[in-house]
Symmetry: C2
Subunit: 436 residues, 2 copies
């Protein structure tokens, strides 16, 4: 073969070595099973949508990032999130679904944005949404799902921050900023990343007076235990319906969240949570890992009035959140909060001192697999050094060795690779040895 | 909203309703866990590859089916199988992998082919490959993995058909057909679908004499128990090295396959298995469901001399198979061999006769979830008819009802929806009731 192509992935498109893939899959599976534990039902939509369907809303920043396909015929594009496909799915299959429709969806999405460390052009989103209910209990259940997910992921030190867009909208209206509400929300959204100074300038450029800006910044700096903040909000005596509705909803929400079993240490009100670029209309959520604030929000979402107005005249209110798993994984790995263990699902490698013992090895493998133990049989029969080296390299926890003596006496030499401890035992004893 | 877009998926791109998605996910998970049981390690490559990498081999039918992306910058395309990405992955990460490299990969692939029932433009492939070993034991292990997969899928009545390309190549060489071997293989591949007449004409058009064609057709009609076929092959006394090597390999393979525990009823030699369009060089496999031959091969593959000659000078021999899961699922559903059970992962819905009992419902849900039972709490508190209707529609197997009496006496009214049987019991008794 004379002409070779350099094997490489495109910029912004990553993949993992096996040991990291196993770690990633474990996180994926933990999220999935927690979603199912709460009765969310799986759906999966095609990676590809009709471009006119995907961009029906149009005008957003995401439009420019869409990957379109070059083939002739129908104009197709890769989805850039899972919310637009959900809206299309629910509209298309409306008559065949039951409401409230509780769905989870964990798929790759694609965005042709400038690639940088931790920002990918292909990444996983793990979404849940409940469609077709205006019940505030649904808003309150979401934090309890988030709470259980992050607990199950072994990341117990997090804070779910909640707010209500009605409060922000109402307060800005009260300050006479109705006409620039959207721009103010977008500015507020940058508080965490860019700090007060930058936001101050942004707000100034909107023609807002300094004293009003001070009020906005003071207001959005309110965060903490729900009772304190709710009391402070009531003290403000803002005469605005949206504001009052929002405060009432947020008050009820916090009451319910604790009813759902989320400890007070794991959630708080934060009036700076705006989710400015999104379509939320009431409750909004963000989640931060307390020890790693630099990662930013690892799980965000909120309530919307109407999911699918571009596709159907059915009104579809709902609430949902999304975990950006690829980014979360990248950041956790980078900070060495999680580490890979081994490069294979195998718990046992069966090694043989001669090919004569292969039938015995295969019989033992069959028994192990029937007990749900992932097992690999080495076919490098006889070459014991090579077999042990292979087990070491993949970090397989146990090697079962079969030689003449073992086979004659129906025993197994079982070796715990981490400690080097080795015992010559029966099959049942070998199982016990592994569990010890 | 005045301008609406009709919500629909593009032609050839399918999706499932929740009840079918759950069924599909179950099959997916069964295949995945069986692959892991045999120590195959997961990898996942980007959906998108550099076009020059993807089409390095070039010239195939698949080239025309590739979906390229329209964005400026690097030329990108969606992968059309998982073998080319595997070759790229192994070449790129060669120094970081351990060999033999046993990997599984279960991802969507995309092909812009003419769409028809059961043929999709987006579909799942579930592949395993072992790279870096010329050991025939590896060839023999593959059928035992297939055997365990189809058993676990609840489809025990299947036949794994094996052959060896060296036998076909050698026999055609012996008949003086060396120069048209590839075309003959392609023709042979159509035997199952188009019958002998069509293949006869194909071979005639290659300029092959009638008597030789008769020999080819007679030869490739040999199939059945390994000993009979192997004896028949030896009787032919074909003086050709490739032929003899192939017969010896096939003979050893069959011996090993039975050693790996695959019953004789589940595999056979079939000399018509050619896998003509592929890059196989020795062992080839196809798998048919005996009761549904019309589905065609549900799991195919084989051994190749060198996986990645387009990317690396490292020689990478290997063997692998692929299950076309989307097509298999479609066919099994169409034939009603599999049927969906329910439209939610929830085993229990907790219904309440008043919102006062919601705290009790949440406490019970927590306990159920801690025991690994997927549980949904209805927030339609009080509206018992609505709650039961919802459970019925989703086919949730159990409803736990909490009214005043239940809460006062720390009991649950547990209803088995299929039979209508209802008991008023403690939490532990309710768990027992469910397991009964």
């Amino acid at each position: 073969m004379s002409k070779r192509v350099k094997p490489r992935t495109p910029r912004g498109f990553g993949e993992y070595l096996p040991q990291d893939q196993i770690l990633f899959n474990k996180m994926f599976e933990t999220i999935r099973s927690t979603y199912e534990r709460f009765g969310f039902t799986p759906i999966e939509t095609p990676a590809v949508e009709l471009t006119e369907v995907l961009l029906a809303k149009g005008g957003g920043e995401t439009d420019k990032q869409v990957y379109s396909l070059a083939k002739e015929g129908e104009q197709l594009s890769l989805h850039f999130d899972l919310t637009v496909p959900l809206a299309r799915y629910v509209s298309e299959h409306y008559d065949k679904l039951s409401f409230p429709f509780r769905r989870y969806q964990m798929q790759k999405v694609w965005r042709g944005e400038r690639s940088q460390a931790g920002r990918f052009r292909e990444f996983y989103q793990c979404d849940i949404d409940v469609i077709g209910s205006e019940n505030l209990l649904v808003d309150a259940e979401i934090p309890s799902v988030i709470y259980n997910v992050f607990l199950a992921l072994g990341l117990p030190d997090f804070t779910i921050k909640v707010n209500n867009r009605k409060i922000l909208n109402g307060y800005f209206e009260y300050l006479g900023l109705s006409e620039v509400t959207k721009s103010v929300l977008t500015a507020i959204d940058k508080l965490e990343k860019q700090g007060k100074c930058a936001v101050f300038k942004d707000l100034q450029s909107l023609g807002i007076t300094e004293s009003t800006i001070e009020k906005v910044l003071e207001f959005t700096s309110l965060k903490g235990a729900d009772n304190d903040i709710l009391a402070a909000l009531k003290d403000l005596e803002v005469q605005n319906k949206s504001f009052k509705d929002g405060v009432q909803e947020l008050s009820d929400l916090c009451h319910y969240i604790s009813l759902f079993g989320v400890p007070e240490t794991n959630y708080e009100i934060d009036l700076a949570i705006a989710r400015g670029l999104d379509y939320y209309t009431a409750t909004v959520y963000e989640t931060v890992l307390n020890e790693y604030p630099g990662i930013g929000s690892v799980c965000s979402g909120g309530r919307y009035d109407n999911l699918a107005s571009f596709y159907t005249d059915k009104k579809l209110p709902g609430v949902g959140i999304s975990i950006g798993l690829s980014r979360l994984f990248f950041k956790l790995r980078e900070a060495e909060i999680i580490k890979p263990e081994r490069a294979t699902p195998s718990r046992v490698l069966i090694a043989t001192l001669s090919s004569d013992f292969l039938p015995n090895a295969l019989a033992i493998a069959k028994q192990l697999r029937e007990r749900g133990i992932n097992t690999e049989v080495s076919f490098e029969t006889g070459k014991i050094g090579k077999q042990m080296k292979y087990a070491n390299k993949l970090n397989i926890p146990f090697v079962f060795i079969l030689g003449e003596e073992e086979v004659k006496s129906s025993r197994i030499s079982a070796k715990r690779m981490a400690s080097g401890e080795q015992v010559k035992v029966t099959f049942d004893e070998a199982i016990e040895f592994m569990d010890r």
